[in-house]
């Protein structure tokens, strides 16, 4: 039923461990600067790596500002515009154990591409309550937007071709911290 995924090989490293950490530190500072502190802030990470990045940003803000920013997890599968086109929907659950009403919610994802995931995330989030505002933080912006969506905080802008793939590898999932561009192996 599902077509076999093409095999990818690494083409270039984009961020190493230190650069990835510096990018997150800068984003944490920018979030505090833009919002005049951490009051009313909440992080919502998109499964799976966005959640990990959201926790890291919250830890950085705790270090810089001393504030505790709540972190939630969003699963957007039920809001996808390609449900029924992509094989079996895998539901892993939304877990936002705080009210987002009146909060400044910072959505966190690892790679921003077409913007369709963020479109779904906005719908999913607004179904849970009415936040004061929603901002978007992404570690990598690789372009090729199909919707009018832009990030507020970017770790790195990375021009890519559509056939390439960007892999964000994080210690918690992959045992290492780095970002690489991959390209399909020629058959």
């Amino acid at each position: 039923m599902s077509t076999p995924a093409p095999r990818f090989r690494e083409k270039a490293q984009v961020l190493d461990e230190a650069a990835l950490d510096r990018a997150l530190t800068r984003i944490a500072h920018e979030i505090l600067e833009k919002n005049g502190g951490a009051a009313e802030l909440a992080f919502v990470g998109l499964r799976t790596r966005g959640v990990t990045l959201a926790h890291r940003l919250a830890a950085k803000i705790a270090k810089i500002d001393g504030a505790t920013v709540p972190v939630g997890t969003l699963d957007i599968t039920l809001y996808r515009d390609d449900l029924g086109i992509r094989g079996t929907p895998v539901i892993r659950g939304t877990d936002i154990p705080f009210s987002i009403k009146g909060k400044i919610v910072v959505l966190v994802d690892d790679v921003l591409f077409t913007g369709r995931t963020i479109r779904a995330a906005l719908d999913a989030l607004i179904d849970l309550g009415r936040p004061q505002s929603i901002q978007l933080a992404t570690l990598i912006d690789r372009g090729h937007r199909e919707l009018p969506i832009r990030p507020d905080y970017v770790g790195k802008n990375l021009p890519t071709s559509r056939r390439e793939s960007v892999a964000v590898r994080l210690r918690e999932h992959d045992g290492e911290d780095r970002v690489v561009i991959e390209e399909p192996e020629e058959a």
């Binding site: 039923m1 599902s2 699963d75 599968t77 039920l78 809001y79 449900l83 029924g84 086109i85 992509r86 094989g87 079996t88 929907p89 895998v90 539901i91 892993r92 659950g93 939304t94 877990d95 719908d123 999913a124 179904d127 849970l128 309550g129």
Partner: protein, 312 residues
Amino acid sequence: MGWTRKDLLTMRELDAGEIVLLVDTAASLQEIATREIKKVPALRGKTIVNLFYEPSTRTRTSFEIAGKWLSADVINFSASGSSTSKGESFIDTAKNIAAMSPDVVVVRHSSAGAAELLARELACSVVNAGDGAHEHPTQALLDLLTIREKKGHFDGLHVAIVGDITNSRVARSNIHGMRKLGMTVTVAGPPTLIPPFVQELGVKVAYRLEDAIRDVDVIMLLRLQHERMRAGLIPSVREYSRYWGLTLDKLGRHARPDVLIMHPGPVNRGVELSPELADGPYSVILDQVAKGVAVRMGVLLLLAGSKGAAAA
């Protein structure tokens, strides 16, 4: 692990991986019930028809809520007040409904095999919501979800199913599901209500309540299905209750202190289960009902939201 079936007809046909996929999907969907706005757009534009030829409150309502929370349009069709009372046959009714292009038909019928017959006739997905004394897969799935949430796992658990086993589709679906997940099942009841050769399903049989409930993790009680029962199988309801009704006293003397009491409903209080137990701390009966909605959401989502599954 992907979902590839057009229909959900029996637990017997599923493998352990498919059962776990259904239970996992349902578990993740439970969170929707706690939201202020209980609706997600997953099945927007899909049509679900509830085709019920037997009375049902829990199952029909639960499928209806599940469909609505997923944003599908749900149409209820019950046999009374429909053209069935004007003499239309089951298949003709079904074909007429199919002509209106539903995505899923949920069917309950008093005849075993009704859902399978429908699945062969219709291009859309069919869910068996109970066919005679044969199977009731979504009930078994919600029982499994309840058990996993309370016990944390399936491995090596021992379940006693007590009561009218012969007439129970809930028992049959649960036996198939539990055996595939590596659980031990003991069925118990008056010999007249235990089907012959039931051991071939891989279960143990007990003919005394105290033997059945000793050292088990879960006791599942069943209602006497008078509507399917021939006369004379039990001397009287009072005698049944005396020997097979579970009370706090019998539980305290024979069962483990961490046992779960389950019942698919409707409960006949004071017959198979004493009121203080039905409402007591061992009982997870209302958890079962709540999980029923999540399980039906999961089933509808996998059938109508998977690529290939619902393809006609």
